[in-house]
């Protein structure tokens, strides 16, 4: 916070690069290129978390997203072996209407967030101790329920994606 101009410059860089990377995820024709643009996008989002004094979230973002979710995407692309993708068209027929609906959504959202004010008590200094003690005391029940959600997703993913045994006969 001691150098607002430097902060501003970095924020503008992250704004532009995040926008370009997310557009590149959509616009690239090869799916594996989309996955790699998504990788760089997620690392930039981790840097934005670092700006907001959320060091623990940055670490979790890199571990879970880059190490888990993106590896899952790359594995899925590899297993499906989509070679014929380059010939097909990328977008649906009503792509113009989709873009229009998205821009309308952005306009409405911009009207909402344009004049937002938050009373600045004091900006949060990222403290992992406080975050951990809050997570294990006040938010203990949602935390445990979340472990159940992950277990159900794990079992469900395995059951859905395994081969149907009747087809093998």
């Amino acid at each position: 916070m001691s150098q607002p101009a430097v902060d501003q410059a970095f924020f503008i860089y992250f704004y532009i690069s995040l926008s370009i990377l997310s557009i590149a995820v959509i616009a690239s024709r090869n799916i594996i290129h989309s996955a790699f643009f998504l990788l760089i996008f997620l690392l930039h989002v981790a840097a934005v978390f670092l700006f907001l004094n959320a060091e623990f979230l940055m670490v979790i973002q890199i571990i879970v997203y880059v190490g888990g979710v993106l590896a899952l995407f790359v594995f899925a692309i590899m297993v499906m072996n989509l070679k014929e993708e380059l010939r097909h068209r990328k977008f649906v027929k009503f792509a113009g209407a989709g873009i229009l609906a998205g821009l309308l959504f952005f306009a409405v959202f911009y009207v909402f967030i344009r004049n937002i004010k938050i009373t600045p008590e004091k900006p949060l200094l990222g403290d992992v101790n406080t975050l951990g003690s809050l997570l294990y005391s006040y938010y203990l029940l949602p935390f445990e329920i979340l472990s159940l959600v992950l277990l159900v997703a794990l079992i469900g993913g395995i059951i859905i994606a395994k081969k149907n045994p009747r087809e093998d006969k």
Partner: protein, 98 residues
Amino acid sequence: MINEYLLLSATLFTIGLIGFIIRRDLIVMLMCLEIMFNAVNISFASFSYYGGNYTGQIFVLFSIAVAAAEAAVGLAIVLALVRSTGINHSDEITGLRG
């Protein structure tokens, strides 16, 4: 200030929404879902920072875990669909029974 972070969040959410609508590949649609999740997480973290409260960061933790579960189940569904019918485009799925 918080306006800039919310504008960043809105921009990324809009790009993810447009990509989810207009792309045909199911895997890229799931990637656009991840973009939207990240936009919402930025919004949560900025409210947490400027409001001086840790609740936003804890919700980002929950959101990241739910996003991981969503990606696992979604990719499993796409994999099962591709394996059973050979379709991986969203506008070619016309039958309910494989």
